[in-house]
């Protein structure tokens, strides 16, 4: 076990211990340029000394903005080495958003990847004069800029080497002066409301969570990871920076955003993270591409994928599988799974995580069925990522696993998930009130998410805490949980569930015009508009089946089983951001909808079979009009709740 308590110290240790092993790679000029630990240590040292030479003081912040590049990662350690704090910023944020961070962090120094970022920083510098020096990594297009506060990375390193030569003890002393509870990084999180908050994490925070997870998952220096998610995001910071140091594995930076998929295939990482959205996109691409394959190949693919759904996940979890299936799965591995994983770049994955939002069980199972050890975790910036995660062999698409090592999790009385552990952030930078609001005196952090533990001790996140309600009989209702379940059906585009303070749950549904339109075409059902298709009896029947499937699922859960959907209706129009029903990021605005369609809600709870509605809508060209419809209200079967069954038997 390493004795280093800060990343710069750990770097020196790695350079001494595994100096000739690759630390990072970048696809540049057509090949994977590689740096070993000893080289990285040199590069960081030169940069750190260079920073000092141009006036970087302990406590100074270094804004880092750009795509995932080794040089930018090195800059993090360099800033830390001389007592400063790196502040990575989302590379796609606009100058105005970036200006807030630069200003709030009181940064005097910034490192930009290229001309695009330099231009933004120059713009910011006009309103935030505190920003003094700007360093750029890629000189392209910057030849004639000429400002004296603008430095090239190479020049800074050159200066640094001179400085190092003149002050040979400086760097070691500076590194030795660092402590575990020094701030190691500040990550700004964009909350849904208000300005971003700067989450302050210490070396201890990052290093201990990184190390705990590394030990749990047995990550070694032979692992490979692809760094392609924003450096300002805590996940990248832990996976591509923290664990890069603690486990000593190699971080690979893609050539450009456009080539990520190709680079993924090149590298074939053993350790991989992607948000559900990316897995979903990959699955869609796979299916679309397979549609164009020759019929024999297509049939082969579907046959073996079916087999994989049946046997693959069980094999992965070490559960019993019949010998025939095992044999067939092995054959499938040669014919389909192996080549498929290979073309996607997933051949070598030992460990893959997804997190951030609920992942569709179909998507989740698809990848696991292929033999990819994909697991869910639950985390946040304030926890240095890990709160809970799924241990090997105990994976369930519904839950996010058990508490991470050294992390305690409990559910507050209002259903909110609380945690504390080694990764808990120190504070929100310059916001003591916000800090106090989130972190109580005993160190418990309020996540804002509502969740519950199942019998196996796995945490299930059901909704935002503030959205969770109760039926009049006290049964818990998590609208988003129910809505997500509905939305996993391709035919359903949006859903809004109600139930707080009512005697049962009811829902609005939007059908997916593309998916249902396809279905209608195949079944020769003519329709002129969304409204017409939505009101079609067969469509209602399909939706009813989906709703009942959701009810059946819900009934398995002793805690939420009571919140099954008794009645629903399919809305006569698509929920639209132009009408204020959705946010611009396409999230349902529950309260607004409840007000706007109050009569429909009344109808759902009054026992009517039909309800007339007139709604003002905004058309694409900005005109306004009124749509009127008589909506059918459909009842759905509900099922006995699992736990109750047990009691009954």
């Amino acid at each position: 076990m390493s004795g280093a308590d800060s990343f710069p110290k750990l770097l020196l240790e790695n350079a001494a211990r595994i100096g000739d092993r690759p630390a990072c790679r970048e696809k540049d000029l057509g090949i994977w340029q590689t740096w070993n630990w000893a080289q990285v240590a040199d590069e960081v040292r030169a940069l750190a000394c260079g920073l000092t030479a141009i006036g970087f003081q302990p406590g100074d912040k270094l804004i880092i903005v750009g795509d995932n590049r080794p040089r930018l990662y090195w800059a993090m350690t360099a800033a830390q080495a001389v007592g400063g704090v790196p502040v990575p910023v989302y590379q796609d944020s606009a100058a105005k958003e970036m200006a807030f961070v630069v200003d709030h962090a009181e940064a005097r120094f910034a490192l930009a990847e290229d001309q695009e970022q330099v231009d933004k920083l120059l713009e910011i510098r006009e309103t935030v004069p505190r920003l003094e020096q700007i360093i750029y990594s890629d000189p392209r297009g910057l030849r004639n800029y000429g400002q004296d506060f603008l430095h090239s990375y190479d020049a800074i390193q050159e200066t640094g080497r001179e400085y190092d030569g003149a002050n040979p003890d400086f760097y070691e002393q500076s590194v030795a002066g660092g402590k575990g509870d020094d701030t190691s990084v500040m990550l700004y999180t964009s909350g849904t409301t208000g300005n971003p908050k700067g989450v302050v994490l210490t070396h201890d925070n990052v290093m201990r969570t990184a190390r705990n997870n590394q030990e749990m998952e047995k990550l070694t220096e032979d692992d490979e990871i692809l760094a392609y998610l924003p450096m300002a995001w805590v996940g990248d910071h832990i996976f591509s920076f923290g664990q890069n140091f603690t486990a000593g594995f190699c971080v690979n930076c893609p050539e450009s955003a456009a080539t990520v998929m190709q680079d993924l295939r090149d590298i074939g990482p053993t350790y991989f993270f992607a948000p559900p959205r990316i897995f979903e996109n990959i699955l869609t691409t796979v299916m679309v591409r397979m549609e164009d394959a020759a019929p024999i190949k297509r049939r082969l693919f579907h046959y073996f994928m079916e087999l994989a759904q049946r046997a693959g996940t069980r094999i992965l979890d070490g559960k019993p599988v019949s010998a025939t299936d095992r044999l067939l799965y092995a054959l499938g591995n040669i014919l389909v799974y192996g080549p498929l994983k290979n073309t996607l770049g997933f051949s070598r994955i030992r460990l893959a995580y997804t997190a951030g939002e609920a992942i569709g069980p179909d998507i989740f199972d698809f990848f696991r069925a292929l033999g990819i050890n994909l697991k869910q975790l639950y985390g946040m910036t304030e926890a240095s990522v890990f709160i809970t995660l799924q241990p090997d062999g105990q994976v369930d698409p519904e839950t996010v696993g058990t508490p991470a090592p050294e992390v305690e999790v409990r559910i507050a009385d209002n259903g909110e998930v609380l945690f504390r552990g080694p990764g808990v952030f120190r504070e929100y930078y310059k916001s003591p009130e916000a800090t106090a609001e989130t972190k109580d005196a005993e160190g418990w952090v309020h996540t804002g998410d509502a969740g519950l533990f199942n019998e196996a001790g796995h945490l299930k996140i059901i909704d935002r805490a503030k959205d969770v309600g109760k039926l009049v009989d006290g049964t818990l209702v998590a609208p988003k949980y129910i809505e997500n379940k509905l939305k996993f059906f391709p035919n359903i585009k949006e859903a809004v569930a109600f139930g707080n303070g009512r005697d049962h749950v009811a829902a609005f549904v939007n059908i997916d015009l593309v998916a249902m339109g396809n279905w209608a075409e195949r079944h020769n059902i003519a329709y002129a508009s969304y409204q017409e298709l939505a009101a079609h009896p067969q469509v209602l029947e399909i939706v009813r089946q989906h709703v009942e499937q959701v009810n059946r699922d819900l009934s398995q859960d002793p805690n939420l089983g009571g919140s099954q959907i008794k009645r629903f209706l399919v809305l006569h129009k698509e929920l639209d951001a132009d009408d204020g029903e959705l946010t611009r990021t396409r999230k349902v605005r529950r309260n607004f909808i409840a007000d706007r369609y109050a009569e429909l809600i009344e109808a759902l709870y009054s026992g009517q079979d039909e309800c007339h509605v007139e709604t003002e809508v905004t058309f694409e060209d900005g005109r306004k009009g009124v749509v009127a419809a008589d909506l059918k209200i459909v009842g759905a079967e509900t099922f006995p709740v699992a736990a109750e069954l047990k009691k009954a038997s």
């Binding site: 000029l29 057509g30 392209r140 297009g141 030849r143 004639n144 450009s256 080539t259 190709q262």
Partner: protein, 268 residues
């Protein structure tokens, strides 16, 4: 990093009273102009004005009947194109002249031909100096690929590329020669607006980053007026005007013969 590197230098190429004819057709008569170091020089004129013929004379493909060309202080009437290449003149063509059977990478590598010297015996072994040389030049070529942002098509046979990208590969091949004078024959012909903008940026970047002198033929007046330092106007093989974009724009002969279009279009 300072402004003066972009500063225009001495005369690099001087064209003196060039006349060129094919059979009965007089393609160029008595053309004289000069190109200075580091400048972007546009040659414009209506179809059949002799623009391409002019470029062909400069890089030795056509041999003029009269007149002389002075390049880097050396006077000559005619030379073989490969000699022109050796002296540092590279060019692209109106209709892309790539090597269709080769990949993007190989096409650009051919541009390094003159700078590679290891003989065939070393190459047979693909070892030692020959391999080292090959790798060094591959690296240079990769820098150009990076510069022109064509990484994604490195291994694609150029015949399969869309037109706009082919033009970019052709520019890459010319750049690989590290020329002192780069002749571009309608680098933006047949491109959409976005591709044109990209190409403009690349031309300016090349000029700025490498200090390459550029002579270009282009029909898009907006582009010409935007990026060139000086413009020479040809019509029916004669020189009509010569000067800065503003001077040329104001020249009555030019307006009559060629720029019969309103000026605001030219500035778009």
């Amino acid at each position: 990093m300072t402004q003066h590197e972009r500063a225009i230098g001495d005369t690099l190429l001087k064209v003196d009273n060039i006349s060129l004819g094919f059979g009965g057709v007089q393609a160029l008569s008595n053309i004289s102009f000069d190109i200075r170091e580091h400048e972007i020089r546009a040659i414009i004129g209506p179809n059949g004005a002799g623009k391409t013929s002019m470029l062909n004379v400069i890089n030795g493909f056509y041999h003029p009947q009269e007149g002389a060309i002075t390049f880097k202080g050396e006077v000559r009437r005619a030379m073989r194109p490969h000699v022109a290449a050796k002296q540092g003149i590279a060019r692209t063509f109106q209709n892309v002249a790539l090597f269709k059977g080769m990949s993007t990478l190989d096409n650009i590598m051919t541009g390094r031909n003159l700078r590679m010297h290891k003989n065939i015996l070393w190459q047979m072994l693909y070892y030692g100096p020959a391999r080292t040389e090959e790798m060094e030049h591959r690296r240079r070529v990769e820098e150009i690929i990076d510069f022109l942002e064509i990484q994604a098509i490195r291994r694609v046979p150029v015949g399969k590329l869309p037109y706009g990208l082919q033009k970019r590969v052709e520019l890459a091949r010319a750049l690989a020669m590290e020329p002192e004078l780069l002749l571009l024959d309608e680098p933006m012909a047949g491109m959409n607006v976005e591709e044109k903008e990209d190409m403009c940026r690349f031309i300016l970047d090349v000029n700025e980053q490498f200090g390459t002198t550029i002579a270009l033929i282009e029909h898009d007046m907006g582009v010409v007026m935007d990026i060139s330092d000086r413009v020479v106007v040809l019509d029916y093989g004669r020189k009509l005007a010569d000067g800065t974009p503003d001077e040329v724009r104001g020249n009555q002969d030019v307006i009559d013969a060629y720029l019969g279009v309103p000026h605001d279009e030219g500035e778009a």
